[in-house]
């Protein structure tokens, strides 16, 4: 029962329109309470769970793999509905080849890692739980090599491997920061607040320690995959040249620590990469992909 609730929660992360019909409340194809189980949805009595005293914080506590994937699928849907995929199959395939190769060198290989380039001139990248990784074309075009692109993708993958978004939602609900989520006393309120929670994370950013962790882990993952380890450093140095008042980077600067701070955090760790310093950067292959 819990699992189907979470699937429903995930499906509603988009605050999918709700309609009340004779057989209960529908959330985008999933019926809640009193629905016909054969109507294509998963019938579950979420009302019962609320009566039993569970709230969003409790339910978020035990997100399992299937729930996480469903959660992330819906979240990626949210992102794509406001920023479509770039209509360039060559670039999409290139990013997917790099991403898939990275996934073969990282943890959580049982996730359906998916990679997409967003048609946006903003400079940013996004990760959703379950392995959905996005990079804007604006950021893509500011990179100089495949190793740098790999570093960006690996950074986002690290957010998923460490489940940063789910942990943040959990924390916010439990600590009362997202009081509306924690104290949601109806299914529709809970799903709406959970969707808001994820949107808030994308708008305000993850904990800076999570960003530093993703930088470090991303650098290691890219190195494992055979890339020049300093791709990550090069990306941060490039970001450091961008002016925060430039509209294209406004959201990125709002949601991440300063590039100079990120470089400062990384620097003591660079020693472990010395043995791999000669690994390829593949600037040429990157330049030839259009």
């Amino acid at each position: 029962m819990h699992k189907t609730v979470m699937t429903t929660l995930a499906a509603s992360l988009l605050a999918i329109s709700t309609s009340v019909n004779a057989s209960g409340i529908s959330f985008g194809g999933f019926s809640l309470g009193g629905g016909d189980p054969d109507d294509g949805g998963t019938a579950v009595d979420i009302g019962e769970l609320f009566k039993a005293g569970k709230n969003a914080a409790t339910l978020l506590d035990e997100v399992d793999l299937q729930e996480e994937i469903a959660f992330g699928e819906q979240a990626s849907e949210l992102l794509l509905s406001s920023s479509p995929l770039l209509n360039n199959p060559v670039v999409q395939q290139y990013v997917n080849r790099i991403g898939r190769w990275l996934s073969l060198n990282a943890e959580r290989q049982n996730l359906p890692w998916r990679f997409g380039v967003l048609d946006s001139t903003t400079v940013n990248a996004y990760a959703a739980p379950g392995g959905y990784i996005f990079i804007t074309y604006g950021l893509y075009q500011k990179l100089n090599s495949e190793a740098e692109l790999a570093a960006v993708l690996a950074h986002e993958m690290a957010h998923v491997i460490q489940r940063h978004h789910v942990r943040t939602l959990k924390k916010n609900a439990a600590s009362g920061l997202a009081t509306s989520l924690a104290s949601a006393n109806s299914p529709s309120m809970m799903t709406r607040e959970a969707a808001n929670g994820l949107r808030d994370i994308w708008n305000s950013g993850l904990d800076k320690d999570y960003e530093y962790e993703a930088d470090l882990m991303g650098m290691v993952i890219a190195t494992r995959a055979g890339y020049d380890p300093y791709g990550m450093v090069a990306v941060l140095q490039m970001l450091d040249t961008l002016r925060p008042d430039d509209d294209a980077v406004a959201l990125m600067f709002k949601t991440h620590p300063l590039p100079s701070q990120r470089l400062e955090e990384l620097e003591p760790q660079l020693g472990i990469l010395d043995p791999y310093a000669e690994q390829p950067g593949l600037a040429t292959r990157f330049q030839t992909v259009r």
Partner: protein, 200 residues
Amino acid sequence: MNRILLAILISALASVTIAAKEATITRDTTLYEQPFRDASTVAELDADTAVTIKTRKGGWYQIISPKGEGWVSITTLRLKSVARKNNNDDDASIGQLAGSGGLFSTGRGSTSDEAAATGLKGLEEETIQRSTVRRTLTQQLLDQNAVPGNQARVFARDGKLQSRQLGYPDSISLEPEPSPGEVPAAAAPKQQQKDEDWEF
């Protein structure tokens, strides 16, 4: 001759040639003759020295400084900001991210500072309605772009990328994997993905 060509090719793999870039030394540092720490010293550079980058090779930049040419560690300098360019195109981009809709559209959305402040406006009523309809299509698109493990391996081999065993530093504690859970009755996303099981 072939060996020289080969050497050039190999070093090209490791080095990243970039257009000459202006940079500033961020702290007192040593300028080395070669890109490794045991190389002889060319000079000591003070913080705030303006330099020009010639190329990068792994964790080292080759630079031209007032005290001569040589190599410094990658983290000892900061690239100069480029001049701010006309942002008219960029205004539209915030709007794009803020809810223009359409699967392959490049339409314009709202373009105010407010958009930058609020970032994604994903949960407006209109977006909510549209997103339900588009759900399956988007997932199919992502699936379409995904590549099987074998293709990724060939791609890596073509780039002379070799997998390495490398652990995370001790400061990283890996998040435990969640329990597998059951596939829900409703159509679950195609995700049982072993390497070679890919179908298109």
